[in-house]
């Protein structure tokens, strides 16, 4: 055995230690399952063994399956194969709990997913009383469900509804909460968990789970004739829809697994669980979510887009120019990452205000118990507010976040470069101005780069790094290192109007106003966007970002030669709303009214300004338009080289502007639809709704060749 060790003591207790020989963590794998099966047989047959303790030789007990191994299931595994895959793991867990000897799980550290499912298959669980030793079943967050008996054991241990709460949120429980929720039996200091497990075994406990006791029936087993239980499932179903619409297959599958499983004998229930698991594993949605939100994201954070051969930079001191909302946020996340920050604005008082943003944010965290006062003070001490550029001496990098004006930015650039060391890089946080144009003010444009943070900076994980024409690979590498140190996700794009994220995101809000111009009922527009999984409708979004902003960008772009940054339909709507004094929420109300103390609602006057057409388009078309408008613009970005990898495109979509995660991102969505089908539907939409949907020759050619954005997996 390579990943396990068994040591039997004089007291008849065998300690089975999980210790993966290759990986730094214990993971569920084929090898491991085989070894576990062998170990279980050995322990069962060894007359000297009276009880078993399972623990881990790593700091973390076990974090579950290797998602890299699961992401390729779609398209390569049949549902029946996926079912067999799940049943193999299920059988091992079942063998463990029915081997006739009591098994105690000494959970010495974090146990999530498959790790916690193993613990649930033991007769007793003692958890290390350490804040890092959380337990839970987070599979729902990657589009799956626990497929090794987790749904059935949890529902029988703590009840169907409490189990559903954990399974549908995927949240993990800290030790005290885990004990209260009865998902573990005891807590003990990390060093004592094995001893506590051993002590439990000494009480001569039964090796039979409650569900294996003859005559056992889950309290909810007769659920269909218990009105409260039946109604509970009605409501739980509605809640699933409320949270995610009809886009995510995992939450309804989890509901059904518990609903159907709890009415069945245990082994039949495990089989049903495996069937639902198999359906999810072979569904493109799980693939999309795992690929983008786990694999691509981690790769980006580990430097997938970092030029090779440049030594890694660890940042200890940076400057932030401009202490407005963005600058203040960048200062906060930098200081939090252990970096000293010189925060500069036109006067010290304004710079102090920028620092106060961090102070307030930390005060809220301290009040909530999420941070100690000492930690907050230590971070705040790293931020030095000033109006003196001379204090930038020694900064390895400067991030400029001053007013979006070329002249002001140029002046700021010159003032900073006068002080900065020769190898320091200069990053501008512009969201709209071309990097190469701003770089003209720089004496060293090869050390000039764009870093587009999203608002609010302390909560948005994406940073769009923009290469100017002259940006050097070394500068790019440093920018990537900086973003990684902030624990944010970098994507790398080429300089172009709107860069990548703003350029594609505009298609979302422009589609909303185009629909309004066509006479679509406003509620249909907002509901269509939310229905496909956008957190907010385009009209509500425009109220927040202000309609003046897109109009200004469009007007600025209109002067540029060969401009393609245009809006096909809906410009008049924006202009009219602004003329009416309803350009934003800030203006007192836009597409929505914002009554004090009541929820916002669509402005009644919209019907008069933009009369509703007698015949409304199919809702399915409205939904498709939001997805297609953005997907096709992303494809154009790929065609033009604004983005260079599908991963960057999809990470930007999901984390930059909230493109629905079930799609995996804009390009993943095209692959999911199938590129030929996508082109055909885009043609149909172009015919009905406008040229912006028309696929380019490049995309048609890709479709003709059957090319995908991600390499196809072989079965």
């Amino acid at each position: 055995m390579r990943h396990l060790a068994i040591e039997t003591g004089a007291d008849g207790v065998a300690v089975l230690t999980l210790d993966n020989a290759v990986e730094s963590m214990n993971v569920v794998s084929d090898d491991w399952l085989d070894e576990m099966n062998a170990a279980i047989a050995q322990l069962r047959d060894d007359a000297a063994v009276t009880g078993v303790v399972i623990t881990s030789g790593k700091k973390v007990f076990m974090a579950g399956a290797d998602l890299k191994a699961l992401v390729d299931a779609y398209g390569t595994m049949t549902p029946h194969q996926a079912y067999a895959f799940s049943q193999k793991a299920t059988a091992m867990h079942r063998a463990l709990e029915t081997m006739g000897k009591p098994v105690a799980c000494a959970i010495n550290g974090l146990a999530l997913g498959g790790g916690f499912e193993l613990a649930l298959a033991c007769h007793y669980r003692v958890l290390a009383d350490d804040p890092k030793a959380v337990v839970g079943l987070p599979e729902v967050n990657v589009g799956l469900l626990p497929g090794s008996g987790g749904t059935q054991r949890l529902a029988r241990l703590i009840g169907a509804q409490p189990a559903l709460d954990l399974l549908l949120t995927g949240r993990s429980l800290a030790p005290a909460e885990a004990l209260q929720a009865k998902v573990v039996d005891a807590l003990a200091p990390a060093g004592d968990v094995v001893a506590v497990a051993r002590a439990w075994l000494a009480t001569n406990p039964s090796p039979v789970r409650i569900w294996d006791v003859k005559g056992y029936a889950a309290p909810e087993q007769r659920m269909m004739i218990i009105p409260e239980v039946a109604m509970g499932f009605s409501v739980a179903t509605a809640k699933v829809v409320d949270k995610a619409g009809y886009n995510l297959p995992a939450p309804p599958a989890i509901l059904s697994t518990v609903f159907e499983g709890i009415q069945l004998p245990f082994d039949k229930a495990l089989s049903v669980e495996s069937k639902y698991f198999a359906k999810l594993l072979t569904d493109p949605v799980a693939r999309n979510i795992i690929r983008t939100t786990f694999i691509s994201k981690q790769a980006a954070e580990k430097g997938a887009r970092r030029p090779a051969g440049v030594p890694k930079t660890h940042f200890t001191k940076v400057g932030v120019l401009g202490a407005g909302m963005m600058g203040a946020g960048i200062a906060l996340v930098s200081a939090r990452a252990g970096i000293d920050v010189v925060l500069i604005d036109r006067d010290t008082a304004t710079a102090e205000k920028g620092k106060a943003y961090s102070a307030n944010a930390f005060a809220r965290q301290v009040a909530r118990g999420g941070m100690t006062q000492d930690a907050a003070d230590a971070i705040l001490a790293r931020i030095a507010p000033t109006d003196d550029f001379a204090r930038l001496v020694g900064c390895q990098m400067v991030i400029e976040a001053v007013f979006e004006d070329v002249a002001i930015k140029a002046e700021t650039t010159r003032l900073a470069e006068a002080v900065l060391g020769s190898d320091a890089i200069f990053a501008t946080n512009t969201s709209t101005l071309p990097i190469s144009q701003l770089a003209e003010a720089s004496a060293r444009p090869d050390q000039f780069i764009g870093t587009h943070f999203f608002s609010p900076v302390d909560r948005m994980g994406l940073v769009e790094i923009i290469k100017g024409q002259k940006t050097s690979p070394a500068t790019l590498a440093k920018a990537v290192d900086f973003v990684a140190q902030l624990r944010k996700t970098p994507i790398v794009v080429r300089d172009s109007r709107g860069f990548y994220t703003s350029r594609v995101f505009r298609m979302m809000i422009f589609e909303g106003v185009a629909m309004l111009e066509e006479g679509v009922e406003p509620a249909r527009i907002e509901n269509a966007a939310r229905s496909v999984g956008f957190p907010v409708g385009p009209l509500a979004l425009l109220d927040e970002v202000t309609m003046e902003l897109p109009v200004k960008i469009l007007d600025d772009a209109a002067d540029a030669p060969g401009n393609t940054y245009t809006i096909e339909k809906g410009y008049a709507v924006l202009k009219r709303m602004i003329a009416l004094g309803r350009g934003s929420r800030k203006a007192g109300g836009g597409f929505y009214d914002y009554p004090a103390g009541a929820p916002k609602h669509l402005w009644q006057g919209l019907a008069e300004e933009f009369p509703v057409a007698g015949e409304q388009p199919p809702q399915a078309d409205l939904k498709a338009r939001f997805l297609y408008a953005q997907a096709i613009e992303t494809a154009r970005c790929m065609e033009e080289g604004v983005i260079e990898t599908a991963e960057d495109g999809d990470l930007g979509a999901v984390y930059g502007w909230g493109f629905p995660a079930w799609t995996g991102g804009t390009l993943s969505y095209i692959d999911t639809v199938g590129i030929a089908g996508f082109v055909a539907e885009a043609d149909r939409l172009a015919q009905l709704y406008g040229a912006r949907f028309a696929p380019s020759a490049w995309l048609r050619d890709k479709a003709a060749k059957g090319e995908t954005f991600y390499p196809a997996k072989k079965g």
Binding site: A230, F233, S234, A236, A238, V240, V241, L255, N527, L602
Partner: protein, 401 residues
């Protein structure tokens, strides 16, 4: 097809469907038993002439299950050759039972029978029989299941009915029911319910609140906003994307009341009339059931009315009186608007908002009510219809002979 005639009908008064309701101590089967005994006694009927007794029930489980109809046949002392059958079409069950017996007779396969319905809501819990349609996540999700009251509010939202509109309708239902009781319009068909001692325990529709006004109704809280907030509001918007927010206008005061009760209708062909010496009071002109959109659940009446009219070869203008179950005020308002029916011709003696809706029983009860009213006014034709759970509708047209 042979003619099907209505020879008689009776109903119990409706008791409040709560533990303090007068009928709470009376099991559902006893309500039906007493009505069957009354039908027999009113005309000294030879029960061996009957082929079948079909009883509808919207929650046919527990003491209301097990083919309650056959149990009641025997319990009432009917000839043991009379069959029993239970039908379930949610709120349409009582009328569906009448239609079922009519079908047996029309086809020539039976000479006579009794169709009716029962529901003891005080002795069951709403949702007692739940069912996959609303509780099995896979089915509920696919059906866009939403509780009925939200569907009623959705009708008001889509049709633009205000709180005042629905409350005004409800107040009028109470007023009409009060007049009907004052004038004894139900007297001919009400069979007081007796307890174990044989003493009358209830002889009137005790749910009524005759002093109800639009103002008093206005003080009540919306009943279904809370359910919508749990997530059903989003389910509705997935299905009805034109809706920004549901206008929650329905309350306990403008929705049908929760009550206990039963009703039965004696049906037969012409030969049965000769054999029993009974005179037919009306002919079953046509009947129908349909499916309608299931999320809103309550728009079936228009479609089922049109189907029943088509089956009868009639137009809406030829119907003298309409009796549409007042499941919720918006259901009736929508029906009047879409069918262009004068309020003066529909639910003329009030309805379930005032007197209550014993789910499976109502269809049989209101068929009898409207027949009595046709006779009182000396009119000829009436349609009885109900909206039905999970998106259905059931109707019947009767014509005096």
């Amino acid at each position: 097809m042979r003619d099907v005639f209505i020879y008689d009908h009776v109903r119990t008064p409706r008791g409040r469907g709560r533990p303090d309701g007068s009928l709470h101590e009376i099991p559902a089967i006893e309500l039906v038993t007493q009505l069957l005994q009354s039908v027999q006694a009113r005309s000294d009927l030879d029960t061996a002439l009957l082929d079948d007794v079909v009883i509808g029930c919207a929650q046919p489980v527990g003491e209301q299950g097990g083919v309650l109809a056959r149990g009641a046949v025997l319990n009432a002392g009917y000839a043991d050759t009379v069959g029993g059958q239970q039908v379930h079409r949610f709120c349409g069950s009582g009328l569906e039972a009448v239609n079922n017996v009519s079908g047996q007779i029309a086809s020539g396969m039976a000479m006579a029978g009794i169709g009716g319905g029962v529901e003891s809501m005080s002795r069951t819990v709403m949702g007692f029989d739940s069912g996959a349609w609303c509780a099995d996540p896979r089915v509920a999700l696919h059906n866009y299941y939403t509780p009925q009251g939200i569907g009623a509010d959705l009708i008001a939202t889509l049709e633009g009915y205000s709180r005042t509109d629905v409350d005004a309708y409800a107040a009028e239902s109470q007023r009409r029911a009060a007049v009907a009781w004052q004038e004894g319009r139900f007297a001919r068909s009400i069979v007081p319910v007796r307890d174990v001692l044989g003493e009358v325990i209830l002889d009137n529709d005790e749910f009524r609140r005759p002093n109800t006004t639009v103002e008093s109704l206005g003080a009540l809280k919306p009943a279904f906003a809370g359910m919508a907030a749990l997530g059903f509001g989003r389910v509705v918007r997935e299905r009805y994307p034109q809706v920004e927010e549901i206008n929650h206008v329905h309350t306990g005061g403008n929705s049908s009341g929760i009550v206990d009760g039963a009703g039965v209708v004696l049906l037969g062909n012409a030969e049965f009339g000769q054999a029993s010496g009974l005179k037919p009071r009306a002919r079953m002109r046509s009947w129908a059931s349909i499916g309608s959109e299931q999320t809103i659940m309550l728009t079936g009446p228009v479609a089922v009315a049109q189907k029943a009219l088509k089956n009868a070869g009639m137009t809406a203008g030829e119907i003298d009186l309409w009796e549409l179950n007042e499941a919720f005020a918006s259901v009736v308002l929508r029906f009047m608007d879409h069918m262009d029916i004068d309020h003066a011709k529909i639910n003329v003696n009030g309805g379930a908002i005032a007197m209550g809706h014993p789910l499976g029983a109502t269809g049989a009860m209101i068929l009898g009510t409207v027949l009595d009213e046709l006779e009182r006014r000396d009119l000829n034709t009436a349609m009885t219809l109900l909206c039905v759970g999970n998106g259905m509708g059931t109707a019947a047209i009767i014509e005096r002979v």
